[in-house]
Subunit: 218 residues, 2 copies
DNA sequence: CAATAGTTTCAATCATTTCTGAAAGTCGAG
DNA sequence: CTCGACTTTCAGAAATGATTGAAACTATTG
């Protein structure tokens, strides 16, 4: 696989890709090394062993080992073995949408779920405040509404995420592509009365109305 | 506004909310203080001045000032003034969806756009590699595909984000709610209302099958 | 325009996260 | 069981990022 004197420009492109991915790391709340290792595995498309990675990225064995383990936990890097070789090799998931599904799945699990749990707890505390009497009922009501709004948002987010992640959720990939691809509808009558719209896309982006979702398999 | 002897349980709920939000901060790539200030402003629903915030959150003036400025930049906290008071007050955007639209808008601008720019640059480098001859053409082709897949994903993401953020994008809010709300198995037709013959693509949410559009490859 | 009230900046400090490297652990083969 | 090849762990070291506090700045007021 690895050409002895490799194609230098491609290698440069790979290095740039790794660097760019590494930059993103901060914003996504993972360590730079983790992102770089993942980038390297993705962009080379090869199965690499720990030493390959250490060499190319100039990092310590410990760092490589731990980051790799995290990547495995996230499910975006997979173990691979080569016959007659005792070393472990690693490869990145090559399908971009599968990869992001894995990321969404993990982030829901690690961030949204605990957050929802906490918000519910807080709601309970607040309800107790109500029963305890004492406070201004209007203030309590407003407080509760704020909590509920937030809760509703994250519940929608979670459901949406689950849809995206679920095996059947392939659909959402297509839905996403579609929503992104479809020509945006110029808004004409924003809020003026009933809407009777021409035969166009399934989801009316303006009103959110859903027309004739007709599981049409062809 | 501030009741002299405030309702203690509500205050506890607020503190918990602030703490939870602060925890999330790491995952979202912003500082804890920033998240806490935002949480405080959101959950109290009040207009607070720098000193209020310093007191309640036990942070320094400098920290408060800088964090507040960032929140203003993100557009999720707004300046407010009280008549006859020289101080500046701050208030969090109270509509949750508006707030997240602002966040999405900023993240696209700060993360996705630069990423896309870099990816395009990298593509150019790679193309140069092709013209320079030398390398294995098959390898180059595979490399280019990997780049293109990634690019396509983020371009979809960006378009989707813009839709969500745009004024007309209110629709996406509804679409999101809908997608999240709709029972996964029953995608027969919109419960009621106008039924229009879809002349255009139709998504089968169940299988992901798409009529009239190329659903994409793996 | 001087005094005052409020806000911003920034070098220094502090806290947290990430990384290293060597030691301990695992596992298969002989 | 012992050796050797490989992997994981973990206590510091190093790097990075957040926070402070006091000085500089800006705007308002009498």
């Amino acid at each position: 696989m690895a050409t002895p004197a490799d194609n230098l420009p491609i290698r440069e492109a790979q290095d740039r890709f790794v660097a760019v991915w590494g930059q993103m790391a901060g914003a996504w709340g993972i360590s730079r090394t983790m992102a770089e290792i993942h980038a390297l595995l993705y962009i080379t498309g090869e199965e690499l062993c720990t030493d390959d990675i250490m060499d190319r990225l100039q990092i310590s064995r410990g760092n490589a080992s731990m980051s790799l383990r995290s990547l495995l936990d996230w499910g975006i890097v997979l173990r691979a073995h080569k016959r007659g070789d005792r070393k472990e090799y690693f490869a990145a998931e090559q399908d971009v949408w599968t990869m992001f599904r894995a990321i969404v799945r993990e982030r829901i699990k690690r961030e949204v779920d605990p957050l929802l749990a906490s918000l519910h707890e807080i709601k309970d505390i607040s309800a107790a405040a109500g029963r305890g009497g004492g406070g201004d009922p209007a203030a309590l009501k407003a407080h509760t509404k704020r909590l509920d709004d937030m809760l509703a948002f994250f519940e929608t987010l979670e459901t949406l995420g689950h849809r995206f992640v679920s095996p059947a959720g392939r659909g959402l990939r297509v839905a996403a592509t579609l929503l992104a691809t479809m020509a945006p509808r110029q808004s004409r009558r924003a809020s003026s009365g009933v809407v009777v719209e021409p035969a166009e896309p399934v989801i009316d982006l303006e009103t959110g109305a859903l027309d004739g979702v007709d599981g049409g398999r062809s």
